[in-house]
Symmetry: C2
Subunit: 591 residues, 2 copies
């Protein structure tokens, strides 16, 4: 798509702006079809983004995108149309706002709930420096469940500054947004619609008693020091422009919340009908650990009435839809509330239930204190099912699951398991019902099923020998990706006449000290889909410290890993077959 100059946007007629929205939609659709990405959220935010670029003056004015997955039109309107075909490709544009990419991206995001806090920081800095310009936080209704949003709203008056919060309300997180705040927003949307407010009347932003939006809903926002405006039809350009102008004007006096009603997937028939399925569009392929989680947990729950499942707004992508349908009473999706979900899990366990808290690796960081303080300090049998561990690829820095082994290992009482394939994952889940303390199982999105394992195949803290142990060099690998890599290295080494042992390091904590002690090898090579600092390699090196054995670790360096294909990222950032093989050769040569 051609670059849109700022001047063009400022002088365009209403019909030209509408035409531009069509172009943007086509470009987004074409690019996401090719590169994957977030489809329905971006389609839903096109008119709003165009209107924002028309009314405000970026990059002098600042906009922070909450989560940031809805920033495609913004990228296309800020000098990045030419590069848009590289979206999410290695070396290409990020799928999220990124400071290093453009001065139009003043603040990087990826996780939910940060935008209002971030906008407040920009606004305070502006005030302190005596500068001007508007600061805008664009936040979806799903994020309004998150505690960070509340903390930021609660401090609006303390901070004594002015920001514009645009609530992009499509009634959806990845699935339908849940919770009391969502119910309030729905009541407001419906109130506005009753009064014909979304039907394109002239007086766009209203809070003047002429709609049937309940006054006490409005007052909810006013409590926090916000002037409430809305509900605006987020696909009516004239209404959007008028209300943004009105909000910009009101912003001179204080902070404003502009409530915009959008339709996720707008302008694309299938995406509108299936917004959850088209939230994230990826390459797919391969069996998924998430499906196994759903199947296994449902089967276990049939036999054990204490089993409950907890998620934070990701039921479908974690594979738990079936469980939620089979056991609605024992399944809790609390919205984008990773911390609350962790404490809820801890207390359910304290009360005798067996909670399984499923979450992506990168989002579990949000619940770190609760893992330590609520779950592990009380040694409660919560099972953390950590999906999307290791490099996750196209979403980049903010979504790589490469820190979990490091931040989980120092926590006392916690067992950390890494299955070699989906069958072993199933066996670990079956094992977990007998645990009397917390367990974390981390796994990537995709894998292979593998051979079925017998009952009680997995014992806590026991590794599995996959190929001899009678070699001078042992490959010790955690997880399917690293074991596959290790098998390739093993095969090629054998072809060169170099024998290797291969061990499945199922548990990163506790280590299998018995097996490690029995190794005759002089060199242990560890492989992990995690940063090297604080991971498996460090644990093994600590065990062999001063033993005379050599420990060589492969994993990721001390750097944030950008977006790219997982297999490419693994190779480029340290898990490279050639390098490991070279290391093996060298170790043989030097003995």
């Amino acid at each position: 798509m051609r670059e849109i100059e700022n001047g063009e946007l400022k002088s365009a007629s209403l019909s030209q702006l509408k035409e531009l929205c069509g172009e943007l939609r086509e470009e987004i659709l074409a690019t996401v079809s090719r590169c994957g990405g977030h489809l329905s959220s971006n389609l839903g935010a096109v008119e709003l983004t165009v209107a924002l670029h028309r009314v405000f003056d970026f990059p002098r004015d600042k906009i922070v995108f909450d989560v940031g997955h809805q920033c495609y039109a913004h990228k296309l309107l800020s000098g990045r149309a030419g590069a848009f075909g590289t979206l999410r490709q290695e070396g290409g544009l990020s799928g999220f706002p990124k400071r290093s990419e453009s001065e139009y991206d003043c603040y990087g995001t990826g996780h939910a709930g940060t935008a209002i806090s971030a906008a407040l920081g920009f606004a305070k800095a502006r005030d302190l420096k005596g500068e001007g310009g508007a600061v805008i936080a664009l936040v979806g209704d799903g994020s309004f469940n998150n505690g960070l949003i509340y903390e930021a709203l609660n401090s609006l008056k303390i901070l004594n500054t002015r920001i514009l919060i645009i609530l992009n309300d499509n009634g959806m997180s990845i699935s339908e947004t849940v919770g009391s705040m969502a119910a309030v927003l729905k009541e407001m949307r419906e109130g506005a619609q009753d009064a014909g407010a979304v039907e394109g009347s002239q007086n766009a932003a209203r809070h003047d008693g002429e709609t049937s939006i309940p006054e006490d809903d409005v007052r909810l926002f006013e409590h926090f020091g916000l002037t409430y405006m809305g509900v605006v039809n987020g696909h009516d350009m004239a209404e959007l422009l008028a209300s943004l102008e009105q909000a910009k004007h009101a912003l001179e006096k204080g902070s404003v919340l502009l409530h915009v009603h959008t339709r996720k997937g707008c302008g694309h028939a299938f995406a509108e009908r299936a917004p959850t399925e088209t939230h994230g569009v990826g390459a797919g392929g391969g069996a998924e650990y998430s499906r196994a989680l759903g199947e296994e947990l449902t089967a276990l729950a049939e036999r054990d009435s204490c089993i409950v499942a907890v998620t934070a707004a990701m039921t479908d992508s974690l594979g738990l839809r079936g469980f939620f349908e089979a056991f609605p009473e024992r399944a809790f999706d609390v919205g984008i509330c990773e911390e609350h979900a962790a404490v809820l899990s801890a207390s359910l366990a304290a009360a005798g239930m067996r909670p399984y808290y499923a979450i992506y690796s990168t989002f579990l960081q949000r619940a770190y204190d609760e893992i330590v303080h609520d779950v592990c300090a009380q040694n409660l049998p919560v099972v953390f099912c950590i999906d999307r561990a290791g490099v996750t690829g196209r979403d980049g820095e903010t979504h790589q699951g490469v820190f979990d082994l490091s931040y989980l290992s120092p926590i006392p009482n916690l067992t950390v398991a890494v299955p070699k394939n989906i069958s072993e994952f199933r066996a670990m889940l079956r094992m977990s019902v007998h645990m009397d303390g917390p367990l974390a199982i981390r796994y990537p999105r995709e894998g292979s099923e593998g051979a079925e394992l017998p009952e009680n195949a997995i014992e806590i803290g026991k590794f599995e020998v996959l190929h001899s142990t009678m070699s001078d060099i042992v490959l010790l690998a955690a997880g399917e990706r690293c074991l596959n890599l290790a098998r390739r290295v093993l095969k090629r080494a054998q072809n060169e006449g170099l024998e290797l042992a291969l061990v499945n390091a199922r548990f990163v904590k506790p280590l299998d000290e018995g097996l490690l002690s029995s190794l005759k090898a002089h060199t242990v090579i560890t492989l992990e889909d995690n940063v090297l600092v604080g991971g498996l390699g460090d644990a093994v090196a600590r065990f062999f410290q001063n033993s005379g054995k050599k420990v060589i670790s492969f994993g990721y360096p001390d750097a944030f890993i950008p977006h790219g294909a997982p297999c490419d990222l693994m190779r480029e950032y340290g898990l490279d077959e050639e390098r490991i093989l070279a290391c093996v050769r060298e170790q043989y040569a030097c003995r």
Copy 2:
């Protein structure tokens, strides 16, 4: 104090209950005077606790204390009066609720904001198991600023159960509670007082239009599915009993919020006048790092208008009161909102300011995702001033600052510094204004001033040699406590004719690779006031991996460390002078 039998409490007259409150107050006062602890919060909650024990049937009914620092009367009423003299002493009663201590403590706490989530877990488990009993969350108004509370409230309707939330509203966190929610609560308290509601009328819990509590404040809670009752005078036993009975009855139909107005420090003239000063009563003594933080930051801010300070409801104990008074425009206390404070800091830095976010080590865990996602992934120059690092002592498991080196080290872009004394801390703060990425400085509460350092004395990633480096054994210690320990070991070793080198490991990340590479020693002994997994020892061992050098690490084991005196805990949990000296002797002997 004598044990109070449950029967005695149930049959006591009103005047006997009031008498009991007097006894409890005396016991709390006497014990805290001797053992330290939380004074004013506990004095304020005496009548409320007695009334709860009278009306409810613990441990069948469950109560979760938010933060947990206000549980002393509860302990005295649940079979622990005899042991109360051991409060906070090693091996004695914990100052917080603890599952292992009593079945009356159904859920352990220590950090703010977890109680409503935890109560919801107990209530759901009760429902699923078909059991009965009330579940109560006792939450202070300070915690109502925290995002976790909002996440829990927001999911009340989703979870479809019944809990009683008692809002123990004294208008105070450690200092006065800030924020919009606090303003709402204040408005409600004052509304109730206008109507004489707190003056001991018969109709205790009211929401019947006869008070002047604004209806839309009440509606704020109703939005979340709560029946609001209050405001109750938390020091009027008759009113408390009546309103708790009423709440208990209402609880049969749905969740209830009972708003109780208490006075922090009630019953003790000085504690009432100085509730902040008597919030936590400790042994004290020694110079404090926090004072240096306040002095140094104020001096720096006079020269650099970009410097701002951020805290989460702990301005006084972090030493920043002076800064807040000198630069009110550049000082932000956002309430108990550790996550929001971190994002605010990140965005202030993104906008060109130089934020200093001061916080206790254990509470920084709450902001883990924001440290990774907002600060470090964007490489923003936020300075984390991490107080109460290492073992903190009397508050026990939930307050030990022994994980920070481990959870911070794996984060890319972050520099982690550990000053050897207060002067070095000052020098690090002066150095930090020139950083172009994030910095964490961790320090204990108390220390010694030390000799003043010249300008530019500290260089990032450079250690300091304190005693030769030409020895076969090097002691490498991080932080004042460990360096003091190392000096004692050095002296005793010298007396035995064993020479040692001593190095101040000022930076745990990055390590001083130049200095480490130049060491001629065969053995490096590391000392750190942190768990061994993932700390300094592991970093040094990683550096020397396969080098032939021996690395022996002293620090804390993989276990939660209970309450006790810091010096005792250090010795007992791994930083023992005798053991280190024995290790030195052994290393000399075996070469």
